[in-house]
């Protein structure tokens, strides 16, 4: 377990942008001290293909999600990659999941086209620029990575107080009410990703471990181009181009959390 954990943190740390990394001299071996701080960028461990961004964001083309199979494919890709346990009922865990229009956009319009009202919308952590979950966490187990905007979790530090769940306005967080391990299909388990323990909170990580290896997030890869991912700070990125050419909305913008996930309607 601790080995997996170490590798995981190294990978997560490796995703740092070089500017931030160069400021942190002697950060070597820091990531190995599991549970004692956000993964610090480690130039030495940087994967040569790692993707770099200063504000990762996502654009979901909801028009493309008319096929329930595609929805399921994205959800499964994420949940299998990250060993998300399959528990039914109100104590379930989910990192990304489909919801209807009314649940997704709680401040909704009337008389919408049926195609919109009946569409499935994929919900996940918005990796808010101004995340209330980070603000309330009493242990810094939830933190925002300054160099790429990803809201990350240290499950070895989390005390399971669930303050962050009360604070997240998007219902993006799940708590391990049960020991998750028996609920992971062993045949499909991903040995490269750590499993969690009972009593901690978890959520989507924007696939930090995949970005560090130069891979797109799992849901993006599975979406056949219906989900775009890229650097919102880069005007030439696919996400920025999509935002410039299509009408998009974000969830609950009035709360000032500044979500990094956009929906093309």
């Amino acid at each position: 377990m601790s080995k997996t954990r170490r590798d995981f943190l190294k990978l997560a740390g490796a995703c740092a942008c070089t500017v931030a990394a160069s400021q942190l001299v002697g950060a070597n071996a820091h990531a190995a001290s599991a549970g004692h701080g956000p993964a610090v960028p480690q130039p030495g461990n940087q994967h040569e293909h790692a993707l770099h961004g200063t504000h990762w964001g996502m654009v979901i083309d909801t028009k493309r999600f008319t096929d329930p199979l595609l929805v399921q494919k994205c959800v499964d890709a994420c949940h299998l990659t990250h060993n998300v346990p399959k528990i039914d009922g109100p104590q379930e865990l989910k990192w990304i999941w489909p919801a209807n229009y009314l649940e997704t956009f709680t401040e909704h319009n009337h008389y919408l086209p049926d195609s919109v009202e009946q569409r499935s919308f994929l919900l996940l952590c918005n990796h808010c620029e101004n995340p209330p979950c980070v603000r309330v966490c009493p242990t810094k187990a939830t933190f925002k990575r300054g160099w790429d905007g990803i809201v990350q979790m240290d499950m070895h530090r989390c005390i399971g107080c669930r303050f962050c769940m009360a604070a997240c306005p998007y219902g993006a967080r799940s708590f391990n009410f049960h020991n998750p391990r028996p609920y992971i299909d062993e045949a499909k388990m991903n040995p490269a990703y750590p499993t969690r323990m009972r009593g901690v909170v978890e959520k989507c990580t924007f696939c930090v471990e995949r970005l560090a290896q130069g891979l797109m997030p799992a849901c993006v890869e599975a979406s056949d181009g219906a989900i775009l991912f890229g650097d919102l700070d880069d005007p030439a990125s696919t996400v920025r181009k999509a935002l410039a050419s299509k009408f998009t909305v974000r969830r609950k913008v009035s709360l000032g959390t500044e979500p990094s996930v956009y929906y093309i309607i």
């Binding site: 109100p90 104590q91 309330v136 669930r162 708590f175 391990n176 909170v201």
Partner: protein, 386 residues
Amino acid sequence: MLEKALKGSPLYWFWLFFLACVAGVGSMAYLYQLNFGLSVTGMSRDVSWGFYIAQFTYLVGVAASAVMLVLPTYLHHYKAFKKMIILGEFMAIAAVSMCLLFIIVDLGQPQRAMNVILHPTPGSILFWDMIVLNGYLFINLLVGWVTLQAERNEVAPPKWIKFFIYLSIFWAFSIHTVTAFLYAGLPGRHYWLTAIMAARFLASAFCSGPAILLLLAFLLKRLVNFDPGKEAIKSLAKIITYAMAINVFFFLLEVFTAFYSDIPGHKAPIVYLFSGMDGFAQWTPFMWLAAILAFLSLALLIPAKLRDNHELLPWTLLFLVIATWIDKGIGLLVGGFTPNMFETVTEYVPSIPELAIVLAIYAMGAMILTVLWKIALGVKQEVGHF
């Protein structure tokens, strides 16, 4: 002074034994929870806090209410509360102890609780809550013990303790304000996102806490013939009346804002609590009971004639305690989480182990209170103060 707790009537020992049994059963339930996680509770992804945090919130109020005796005594040199002030301070100790236990049993990883201190995060209200609660526990232990010791030795309490007494006044307000900030600062939780949350908390604390204290004082009168004095009861009842009136008024302010502004998000939790939503209405009878009892208690408190009737007063106080407990111990949490972030309803029903653990913590609190009060009354008896 501890030896005072070791000599008691059979009733005293039987009561402690009974409480120990309740605590024992609940501890088994807690062991069960340790083994199977919080999955044994009724909490869920959508209602991620439940009875534990609700009791915690209610008891912070009970703890803070000691200030309703301390403030008149030390800031206004009001003599009548002198005799029972120690009871209030010791009740605060029992209440804060229960608060801390409720936090611990609510944690998913209780063995990591120290992370709050190892990784201090001043931006988190929970961090401050931990500091103020422990501080309040310490202050009350110190003040209670030192003043009682002085009473026993029949000398005036040392001068330096004044500092801690004044500090305790400020601190009492701080514990409930900070606890309100746990809720009031969260975007997207309409029922909690209100500037008068702290004020409401204090108002409900300052009626429910003294009401419990007074109820217990009536019990003491029956059991050991300890009389806090007519004047003290009269004044405390008056304080309770004002606080309850303000408490109800504040709640009505919330209702006005929600319904006159007609903003759906603000109305939704109140609608859910009082009339149900999407076919879910489990808590409606409780909320209406609370509303009726709240007005009934006010009707029985406001006319001085009824308030000063000591046959009636315990009933009035009981109604008030039930009303405020439902409001804070059920309504506050359930209303905050329902409707959920998707504007749908997930109902919360506390499980049997969860209730057993809640009862166990109350039993432990009652044990602490019994022992502390036994000591206090023992000392008072020794020096002939009752």
